[in-house]
């Protein structure tokens, strides 16, 4: 090596590390990552206590990687490198045909699944009212053919079959309803949720099985509300180059339909579609305004029955379809309704509110992993 070349190497190396050090110090810290849809780690406060508890150093490290200059470009570069060396995924997300991002499914712990299905069974067997149970398969099941051949992707159908065999409730098959429309835009390409169209097919199957007559798809006129939606799978993948999703609305809120949102003990007025979320990253939350413990929806169909739905976030885009079939739709999320269930039970709720039918409806993924399903009893 010549002396000149040596100096070039030294200068490049020291410049590289010190430029990023300087930028790291000088650039203002970001609070929220739009791209990753999460709060970034902030500079930890130094104290001897946190130092000796090893909290300070660990936090300082995630602070440096989270606030690293041009973080989004680096994560994209990493995703591109992974694909360049022959992998078809990054961070467990597969890049499939047509810019579809799919996270493979991993079967849940058997113990957790058994706890949850046992809770449903106990609830259904002790109920004096009809209990329906439906599990929603995800993209990795309905579109498993898009995932590279032989890639590890557990069957959600097996989980559904196992749960239905042990649920003791009236099971509703959503899997075949969705599978028969698999060539339509029923799942977002960049998010784990179903689209409004997917939710419609779910609604159709539910109503048919529960003895109601669903409104036909032709009675709705879809309306596009956003064509810049990047979902959760996108956030995880680092594949920032894929094209965004479109959000459509099928069932507009009827003027006489009232939504009460029990975010706190005292309800506030809610809405089917909270357009404010379309300005944010988390656009899916525009359905029903995102996670909430309890929604009480009353419709003009005062002669129709009342339903209680125990659910996860997939239900948010399905609820609007129900306004022609029920007089009251109560939507409960056990993850956030915990405290209210300390002194009363779900059965008490059904009795006190004169509910006619109960539907327990989760995505397969959440049902296998959620630790709050036991609260049913």
């Amino acid at each position: 090596m010549t002396k000149r070349s040596s100096w070039v190497q030294i200068i490049l190396f020291t410049a590289f590390i010190s430029v990023f050090f300087a930028l790291f110090v000088l650039m203002p810290d970001k609070g929220f990552s739009e791209r990753e849809n999460r709060e970034l780690t902030q500079e930890p406060a130094f104290s001897l206590e946190s130092l000796f508890a090893k909290k300070f150093t660990t936090k300082f490290e995630s602070y440096t990687t989270d606030q690293f200059p041009f973080r989004d470009s680096w994560t994209t570069l990493k995703a591109r490198s992974e694909l360049a060396i022959g992998k078809e995924e990054n961070k467990g997300v597969y890049l499939c045909k047509g810019d579809t991002l799919i996270e493979a499914y991993e079967a849940p712990l058997q113990t957790q699944l058994d706890t949850n299905i046992q809770a449903v069974k106990t609830f259904a067997e002790n109920a004096a009212f009809p209990v329906y149970f439906a599990l929603i398969p995800g993209n990795s099941e309905i579109h498993s053919n898009l995932i590279p051949k032989n890639a590890p992707n557990d069957s959600q159908k097996d989980i559904i079959d196992y749960c239905y065999a042990n649920s003791g409730a009236k099971n509703i098959d959503l899997e075949s309803a969705l599978a028969s429309h698999s060539d339509e835009y029923i799942y977002y390409r960049t998010d784990h949720h179903w689209t409004s169209l997917g939710a419609y097919y779910g609604y159709e199957a539910l109503m048919t099985a529960m003895g109601h007559s669903p409104s036909p798809l032709s009675s709705y006129t879809p309306q596009t509300v956003s064509d810049r939606f990047y979902g959760t799978v996108y956030s995880k993948s680092g594949m920032s180059w894929v094209k965004p999703d479109t959000i459509e609305i099928y069932a507009p809120q009827d003027v006489s339909t009232e939504v009460l949102n029990y975010l706190e003990t005292e309800p506030v007025e809610g809405t089917f579609y909270d357009y404010a979320f379309l300005e944010k990253k988390d656009k899916y939350s525009m359905f029903m305004g995102g996670n909430t413990p309890l929604l009480k929806i009353t419709t003009k169909r005062s002669d129709a029955p009342k339903i209680l739905i125990i659910r996860d976030s997939y239900m948010d885009s399905l609820v609007p379809y129900l306004q022609n079939d029920y007089s009251e739709i109560d939507v409960m999320d056990l993850r956030y309704y915990k405290t209210q269930l300390i002194n009363s039970s779900v059965s008490d709720y059904v009795r006190e509110n004169g509910i006619d039918e109960v539907l327990i409806c989760y995505s397969v993924y959440n049902f296998g992993t959620d630790t709050n399903v036991f609260l049913l009893n």
Partner: protein
């Protein structure tokens, strides 16, 4: 790396020479304390004890050998006691508690101090070298502290012997050529660790936890080959980074790896793998035990002892000792008989045999229980419940094919030799370009990592 390293280097080169060792001493302690703040105390204790006993050993070594020896023994006892307590106490407690009547012995909740195996061995070399007259007493406490806690190699070696760096502690020149070679070495080490080891390690993570019924013949070999590559690139990458950083600070450390997987015998493998550890055991255990000077049987016994200890040094579990003895068996077998056969056999026989022994050895090394090893070996030798191949194996094989090819080539000196053949002029343009390219890609992987074992080492 982007915070610690620029500050350390900048201050080091700004301050005058006499402040450089104190600065290094200071940042070493910060570096060490980063992982385990409490253990700074342990580190300081170790430095003080070795500093003082070192002075006494040096004082008496010329005219009162027995007294010098006494201090040497005290030193070794303290060092080993610390190592035993912090690293092995729980293993011993657990083992003893299984003996009827001793079940009142309980394990303690002690975290292993980072790098204790490395720096204990390193400090022990100090009084021994002084006693033997191979080095002089370090009277400057700061310089001595710098030696013990020298941050580049504190956590994963190379284990430097006092006699090798004694003169560098008092004075070391730095030149542009040396710094640049440090940059090159560091960058290569970084690439080995971040781009190869972490990447192929993911495959082993998948296979090492696979249930016996899912582990096929092909899968088990894929998994353990991935680990064989991971441990080599992880460990040698770390050594390269340490040697590189050392050079940036003006130190010359000994080499630690020399393309071990191209060896033609197990004996040769251990001359190329973790050289500094092998050298340490040779100089401070094997030769004092008599080495090969006391007859064949004694030599074989010595080999067995040294390798049981070498295995045990790698971790606090009996499987590590077994792993050491596994190598002792091959080394003895080669010494007595097999080496002569290998010399006459075609080259590929030796290569194949050595890699085979090493790869099979890693199962014993990495799986923590004997039952896990047994079921893994079963799969490797075709008696497992998982059959010959699973569909998912073909997916992993395809996904990691490029990675395997790259890393296997990187196990040989092929690229290095080809690069050397390039004209000087091309090299002087290509080298800086390659350095920047590696730094950019490594940064992408480091920034994106949610879990990164490298960050644990904390540069």
């Amino acid at each position: 790396m982007f915070v610690y390293l620029p500050v350390v280097l900048a201050v080091y080169y700004i301050v005058p020479w006499k402040w450089r060792n104190p600065w290094l001493f200071f940042v070493n302690l910060i570096f060490y304390g980063w992982g385990e703040p409490v253990y700074i105390v342990l580190m300081l204790f170790s430095i003080v004890v070795n500093y003082i006993t070192g002075i006494f050993v040096g004082k008496y070594r010329d005219d009162n050998k027995p007294k010098a020896k006494k201090f040497l023994v005290i030193n070794i006892v303290i060092n080993l006691a610390l190592l035993m307590f912090f690293k092995y106490f729980n293993l011993f407690a657990e083992t003893l508690s299984q003996i009827p009547g001793l079940d009142s012995i309980h394990t303690l909740n002690i975290a292993l101090p980072i790098g204790i195996s490395f720096y204990t061995f390193q400090t022990m070399s100090y009084p021994i070298d002084i006693y033997r007259g191979d080095g002089d007493v370090q009277k400057n406490f700061i310089s001595f502290g710098t030696f013990v806690a020298l941050f580049p190699q504190l956590i994963a070696g190379p284990i430097i012997r006092y006699k090798d760096v004694a003169s560098q502690l008092n004075f070391r020149a730095s030149s542009a050529e040396q710094f640049a070679s440090g940059v090159r070495r560091f960058t290569i080490g970084l690439a080995k660790k971040v781009l190869i080891a972490n990447n192929i390690g993911k495959l082993w993570d998948t296979y090492s936890v696979m249930a016996a019924t899912n582990l096929s013949f092909v899968g088990s070999w894929l998994g353990i080959l991935a680990f064989s590559l991971q441990i080599y690139f992880d460990f040698s990458g770390y050594s390269d980074m340490a040697i590189g950083l050392g050079r940036m600070l003006g130190f010359e450390f000994m080499e630690n790896f020399n393309y071990p997987y191209i060896s033609r015998s197990v004996t040769e493998f251990w001359r190329r793998w973790h050289i500094s550890l092998g050298t340490w055991f040779r100089d401070y255990v094997y030769i004092p035990l008599g080495g090969n000077r006391k007859g064949k049987n004694r030599q074989l016994l010595n080999i067995t002892i040294v390798w049981a200890l070498t295995g045990f040094w790698h971790g606090a579990a009996w499987t590590f000792m077994l792993w050491g003895l596994y190598y002792a068996a091959f080394l003895i077998f080669e010494k007595l008989y097999w080496l002569k056969v290998l010399e006459k056999a075609p080259r590929f026989v030796g290569h194949f045999y050595t890699v085979f022994v090493a790869v099979c050895g890693w199962v014993l090394f990495q799986l923590t229980s004997l039952s896990a090893c047994a079921s893994y070996y079963k799969a490797m030798f075709g008696f497992g419940a998982g059959g010959f191949i699973k569909p998912v194996d073909t997916f992993y094989l395809a996904s990691f094919a490029v990675m395997f090819v790259i890393s296997i080539i990187a196990c040989t000196p092929l690229l290095k030799n080809l690069y050397k053949k390039l004209p000087e002029k091309t090299q002087s343009y290509a080298t800086p370009a390659i350095i920047v390219l590696i730094l950019v890609i490594c940064t992408a992987y480091l920034v994106d990592a949610t879990y990164n074992p490298f960050l644990y080492f904390r540069f």
